[in-house]
């Protein structure tokens, strides 16, 4: 009868871990607090704090003679952004980011659509590996690999020469702005490598969004007389839009801030990231570097605000 006596209906736990889990079961909010406090402190103090410090720096100015920072509130540094040489940097970066984002979305959509709608089992695994694999190797290695691929002695030139299509490349490179002496020292090269490096960040959110679109909505549209193009325009695209926006946030902001790709591949003209690097390093102009950094933040804020106003998140 001892067994029956021991197994009471409301079993008691006497050890510490048992009492602790009972306590958390009764007070779930305390558990939540304990779990969230460290990451929130990290985010709030270290991350947001430094961002705020940066913002503050951008309202200071640098003394041209002594090179020391003048801790008085001024908008002079922001005015500096508008002088042509600096404004060109901003314009160049924003145009590049817009083009990279648009091209990434156009290339990523069919891939994501295939993965979400058709790939099953083995093919889904192959898709994920194919998309993720480039993320596993060093970013620098990939960029240098692209430098060789796009160089005058590289495989692209070689392959086009073998196909007797070198004139196409030469014609393209002779164009103003997008051209250059070779692909690896032209904006075209920078554009290609940006697309390559950010592609997974565009494919995965679109794929996730498409995966949540029930197949019968596509059928319902066709059933009601919607041609494939109309189904895309009125059903598929609006429902995938949150994913496209999410992907474009990645490609757009990453392109706005990157300073390695344009340094290795492209003409020697600066992008925002390089300008920040140069201002805070060699030039020692922290306020101007900070002001440059604020530009992508403001642009992203505007972009999200516009996307929200356009109803991009209505389908969430």
């Amino acid at each position: 009868m001892t067994i029956a006596a021991d197994t009471s209906i409301l079993a008691r736990r006497e050890n510490t871990s048992g009492r602790l889990s009972d306590f958390f079961w009764r007070n779930p909010k305390i558990l939540l607090l304990l779990m969230l406090t460290p990451p929130l402190l990290w985010l709030g103090v270290i991350y947001l704090g430094s961002l705020f410090a940066l913002l503050l720096q951008s309202f200071f100015s640098i003394d041209d003679f002594s090179g020391l920072i003048n801790y008085e509130f001024t908008l002079a540094t922001y005015r500096q952004l508008l002088i042509p040489s600096n404004f060109d940097i901003i314009l160049r970066t924003v145009v590049m980011a817009v083009l990279v984002t648009l091209a990434s979305a156009v290339i990523a959509f069919p891939i994501a659509y295939y993965a979400a709608r058709y790939a099953r089992g083995k093919w889904k695994v192959i898709f994920y590996l194919g998309v993720m694999l480039p993320l596993w190797s060093s970013y620098l290695v990939k960029v240098y690999a692209w430098k060789l691929i796009l160089a005058k002695e590289g495989i692209v030139t070689w392959a086009l020469a073998k196909l007797n299509l070198l004139w196409v490349l030469d014609a393209w490179l002779s164009l103003p702005v997008v051209g250059g002496t070779s692909l690896s020292i032209s904006y075209t090269g920078t554009f290609i490598v940006f697309i390559y490096v950010w592609m997974p960040f565009m494919i995965l959110p679109i794929q996730a969004a498409l995966e949540r679109v029930p197949g019968n909505l596509i059928e319902a549209s066709a059933d009601l007389g919607g041609h494939p193009a109309q189904t895309f325009r009125y059903v598929l695209f609006p429902l995938a839009l949150p994913g496209i926006i999410a992907g474009s946030i990645f490609t757009f902001s990453l392109t706005l801030g990157d300073y390695i790709i344009p340094q290795i591949i492209g003409s020697s003209r600066l992008f925002i990231g390089q300008a920040v690097y140069a201002q805070q390093g060699t030039a020692g102009n922290i306020p101007l570097a900070a002001a440059f950094t604020v530009v992508p933040i403001v642009i992203m804020g505007l972009y999200l605000w516009m996307a929200k106003r356009q109803g991009a998140f209505d389908a969430l």
Partner: protein, 332 residues
């Protein structure tokens, strides 16, 4: 005129014969039900009519025109989907007007037509809401309005009442039936609920394993099931084994006998009777369902609630009119 015609239509998915050599002809203005368990091929038949599937072999005609190779968006046929498939990012009015919008009907005109369609399904003024804000029954009505606003020649309904609770389902059954009568549109209705099929349809096709087991009016299918499967699936008929049937003086073979055709006690000319031991009795409101074991067969009978219920283990005699016993083909 024939609205939908299937000639030897098959749809195979790999080794699975979802639809296997089906022949059927649905008349214009008919309320046609396709009844069967899941995986019996009824939904695939509906999808073949809508154009979501193409037949592996065979020939399909819709109002005399060849349907093979015609995409869904070129068919004047609309579907009410099982889980409604309303567009979540559009308002109810935009959902209903969708079919007219893609056909290029002017905005004012299509919104007016959509309002009228919503009024027809008793949801006037719901246009500004989103599908997520509606209950299951309301979404069902919106799906119906969205299909009907296009004035289809054939309306396909894929288990449209499956997700509704009993009371709502009965109400919608009546509404669908009267809507079909007033509009005169051909309705093709897929269901696994035999009661629904029997009460609503002009004719029923009973499906099993990709084949039509029986095609006929509800009364035919119910009273004279052709196969054991139909007898089992439609209603709650007794399927009597060959020996039992032979013992009563009929030719040897499976036969069906409806529980309500059996009465307690033996009496009258033209009647057959058998004796058995009561193994179960359950109260169903208007009647008691009494199951007896007789000569190796289990037979259920409906005993009116006004009569005393025989106790379990008691031996009772049942009788029925010889005409009510329906002998079936083969041993299917």
């Amino acid at each position: 005129m024939t609205a939908v015609l299937f000639q030897q239509v098959s749809r195979h998915f790999g080794a699975v014969r979802a639809v296997d050599s089906v022949d059927l002809a649905i008349a214009e203005g008919e309320f046609f039900a396709m009844l069967g368990p899941s995986g019996s091929g009824k939904t695939t038949c509906l999808r073949l009519m809508a154009g979501f599937e193409q037949p592996t072999s065979g020939h399909i005609e819709i109002f005399g025109e060849t349907a093979e190779g015609v995409p869904p968006y070129r068919r004047n046929v609309n579907t009410v989907f099982q889980d409604y498939a309303l567009f979540p990012h559009l308002s109810i009015l935009e959902n209903v007007a969708y079919g007219l919008m893609v056909k290029g009907v002017a905005k004012a005109e299509r919104l007016k037509a959509a309002e009228e369609a919503l009024a027809m399904v008793k949801l006037p003024g719901y246009g500004t809401r989103r599908p997520g804000q509606l209950s299951g029954g309301q979404r069902q009505r919106v799906a119906l309005a969205r299909a009907l606003v296009n004035r289809p020649r054939v309306l396909l309904l894929d288990e449209p009442l499956g997700a509704l609770d009993l009371k709502l389902r009965e109400q919608m059954q009546e509404e669908l039936k009267s809507l079909q009568k007033s509009l005169g549109i051909t309705f093709v209705f897929v269901t696994h609920d035999q009661g629904e099929a029997l009460s609503m349809a002009d004719r029923i096709a009973v499906f099993n394993d990709g084949k039509i087991q029986q095609l006929g009016t509800p009364e035919e299918v119910y009273k004279r099931p052709k196969t054991r499967f139909v007898a089992d699936f439609v209603g709650s008929s007794n399927v009597l084994p060959p020996d039992f049937v032979a013992g009563l003086g009929f030719s040897k073979g499976y036969a069906s006998l409806r529980p309500e055709a059996i009465t307690l006690g033996e009496s009258g000319p033209g009647r057959k009777h058998f004796t058995g031991r009561v193994v179960a009795a359950s109260f169903l409101g208007a009647a008691n369902r009494v199951t007896v074991e007789a000569a190796g067969a289990r037979v259920a009978a409906m005993v009116p609630a006004s009569l005393a219920v025989p106790a379990e283990g008691e031996t009772v005699t049942f009788s029925f009119l010889a005409d009510d016993l329906h002998q079936m083909d083969g041993a299917q």
